[in-house]
Amino acid sequence: MVFNSCQFFVFMGVFYLLYLAVNGKVRVQNALLLIASYVFYGSWDWRFLSLLLASTVLDYICGMQIYMADGERRRKVILGCAMFGNLFILGIFKYFNFFSANLHLLLSRFGLPGDPVLFNIILPLGISFYTFQTMSYSIDIYRGEMKPVRNFLDFAVFVAFFPHLVAGPILRAKTMMPQIMSPRRLRFSRFYEGCHLMVWGFFLKVFVADNLAMIVDPVFSSSGNYNGVMVLLSLYAFAFQIFGDFAGYSCIAMGLGKWMGFDIPVNFNLPYFATNPQGFWKRWHMSLSTWFMDYLFMPLSFAWRGLGGLGVMAALMVTFTLCGFWHGASWTFILWGVYHGALLSGYRILQPVLAGIGEPRNRILRNAWLILRMVFCFHLVCLGWLFFRAGSIAQAKSMIEAVLFNFRVLPGIGIQHYFLSLLFYTAFLLGVQVLQYRKNDLEAVRKYSFPVRAAFYYTCLLFIMFFGVMKQNGFIYFQF
């Protein structure tokens, strides 16, 4: 049941009417929310519900036990159990086959043949999201940053909250639990906010991302003999496809949250307007980057503080390698993570030098310098996307070679068509984002008068009606 499906519209319609009917009764609303979330998740495959429930029960109990435990050692042991339990689930369902296959490959290199042990299992939807969410809950209690949740129903709602369950954002208990436990006031203003976010989210997904997929996929599914220009165009397209796909999902999730009286934190803040890698990670998938920052990078850099700058860079490399691995059990994702770790480390080294380059005083030159940095950073990010999207490292390598050594505009391969399509599917998005950037406000559009907003909604809806891809394509981040 994806957001852009008829089933979801019917499901949401029925759920929301019931939800409104019990407005003010927070317990009943939470029970309804939990049932709806389990129905939503179970609609993909009811067997996965047991994992969701296991993760919920594990952290609910561990959270309570950590809080009540006497000594530091005991608290650590319980936290260790919680971490082990969550990582075990993740390890078995997401990473086991990867490790097993690679171990087999390694052993066969040393002349130890044999069949790898592989599980015939499907990756449960959203497993990386909810395990990380529950892990952060236990860690926060261990750190004394929050108290455990007494009511199991409330905690189960936090874990299974369906708007964000399968593709994030990764919510923190500190932010969500107060909202879940207190009565929610449904206001018209929030309803409108929700509608605004959902229109924009569907536009990003159905018009931008799914159309750009038709530019990206043929290039990445072809087997060699790449043309550099096509590779570059498809990379640009993928950069906007993955943004449209994931930011679209996040917007819809936020919009649904608003309808129900929740504030889900912003997950994307104009990431392609970043002027350096550090800025990019402050704007891209913010719920994940802050998770890694808080629970991995900070402890590591603290532990390695004796090594000075080297320790920080080592922490960055470890953090981003694992961040890549979080995205999938594949060497391409690991390489993507390593690449970003290296970019951030490199930026850290160069930062003093870059800071020394003063900004031009002339306004035009200053803007040109700003745009130049943005474009450069965007290309660095695009290079990362190549590893992310490629089916194998060999494919990524041959595509890079094509950009470097086979960068020719050849007649008959439809470059003009691809270029115009890319422009068509991204122009409105970029226009809106430039406005948001200039006003330094993601809600810039919503602050215009109703006639202007109506024109904006009309444009989005007409694009969806005339050009949207209505094939209910799954969201890219479902696979993570």
Partner: protein, 400 residues
């Protein structure tokens, strides 16, 4: 409802809520033109002809019965067309074809001297074959030979064609007749349910964006000159021409693809085949195993035909080489190999000849024989049947 939901205790607040509710309705009304546009285009253009009356299909059927060819400009309820066709028959067809669009290219030329009709329907299910046979049986005009286009998906429990449930009642009638599923709900009840489901489906299409996009496509194709400048309401017309840019249903029931699809270059075809995978056309319905219930129904059906001394010929239409390589190599689709093995074993056990194979190499087909990922060109179908009929078989069984 809304105001009661957002209610509060004070009168002033109630007044405010009322004002906000009016505001909500006014804002929603601003978007009414979009909804009206959607509904009007979907209803008037109606690309799948779901809002047209049954008379359209009745008229096409009567034209086919009068040996006319008919150019059809839109999707249509071809199950209903076949029903009217069979109901209008006065003489027995010696050879009939039951299958999907993959069997639609089989024409009467392949069976010289014998009366023939191709009853294939789009995206057929096993239920369609059974329903069609039941129509012939109830009419008392059972054929002598049935060419059965067996597509792998007819064994897929998730394969439903929600759009057209026209033949369901005949399928259930057949099951009652052969004593299958005794004690199951009456066919009339099932038919009633199906009719209601179809009605819901039908009217939901008024608000469907994908239906709207199909309507736009149809408007674009109608703007071309081949259709005598006809717009909107003309969905079919009798024709003697075979070079139209529209699918032509020939009087023998076989389908002549539109000129543009016949003229496609191999490169373009291959691109489309790849795109079909990319867009997930092959993964719309989960198909991980051959359903035992459908397998049983298939066996009951075929054994009934054999009991009635009807010659059965199984036709396994091949897939485009690119598509087949992916299908057979992928865990996700490789069930098609299992289906083929099962069908061959079953045919061997019952003395049924098999023509073709899902694997193109096994029957000597190359990329140039295909018009897309799953459809052979008409001349290639002729070539395959001729080779089997003529005894120069490609490793497949021969017609008796």
């Amino acid at each position: 409802m809304v105001s009661s939901i957002f209610s509060s205790k004070s009168a002033a607040h109630r007044e405010r809520v009322r004002g906000l509710t009016v505001g909500l309705i006014a804002r929603a009304a601003v978007f009414l033109p979009l909804v009206i546009l959607l509904v009007l285009v979907n209803y008037i253009v109606d690309p799948a002809a779901i809002f047209t009356s049954d008379d359209t299909m009745r008229d096409i059927a009567s034209r086919l019965l009068r040996n006319e060819n008919v150019a059809i400009l839109s999707d249509h309820n071809d199950r209903l067309l076949q029903k009217f066709y069979i109901e209008g028959l006065t003489e027995r067809n010696e050879v009939v074809v039951f299958g999907s669009s993959r069997s639609h290219q089989i024409g009467e030329r392949l069976f010289p001297g014998r009366t023939f009709h191709n009853n294939s329907v789009m995206a057929s299910t096993l239920g369609d074959y059974i329903g069609l046979l039941e129509l012939y049986r109830e009419k008392g005009l059972l054929p002598r030979t049935v060419v059965l286009g067996v597509d792998p998906w007819i064994f897929n429990e998730h394969n439903h064609v929600e759009t057209w449930r026209t033949l369901d009642i005949y399928t259930y009638n057949f099951f009652s007749f052969v004593g299958l599923y005794a004690g199951s709900p009456a066919s009339s009840l099932l038919n009633d349910i199906n009719t209601r489901v179809f009605k819901i489906y039908k009217y939901s299409q008024l608000l469907s964006i994908s239906y709207f996009q199909s309507a736009l496509q149809r408007l674009r194709s109608l703007a071309r000159d081949d259709h005598k400048g006809s717009l909107l309401r003309v969905r079919y017309y009798p024709t003697g021409r075979t070079d139209l840019d529209a699918d032509v249903e020939l009087s023998d029931g076989s389908m002549l693809a539109s000129r543009s699809s016949r003229m496609r270059e191999n490169d373009e075809i291959l691109r489309n085949v790849k795109a079909a995978f990319i867009l997930g056309h092959f993964a719309r319905q989960a198909f991980s195993r051959r359903d035992p219930k459908l397998t049983h129904e298939f066996e009951v059906f075929v054994k009934y035909l054999l009991r009635e001394k009807i010659q059965v010929v199984i036709w396994l239409a091949p897939y485009h080489p690119y598509a087949y390589d992916i299908l057979s190599a992928s865990d996700k689709y490789s069930v098609i190999n299992e289906v083929e093995n099962y069908v061959r074993d079953f045919a061997d056990g019952n003395g049924i000849p098999v023509i073709g194979s899902y694997g193109p190499k096994a029957c000597g087909m190359t990329e140039s024989d295909f018009s897309d990922a799953i459809h052979l060109k008409r001349e290639s179908v002729n070539k395959m049947f001729a080779s089997d009929l003529g005894g120069a078989g490609s490793g497949t069984a021969r017609l008796g």
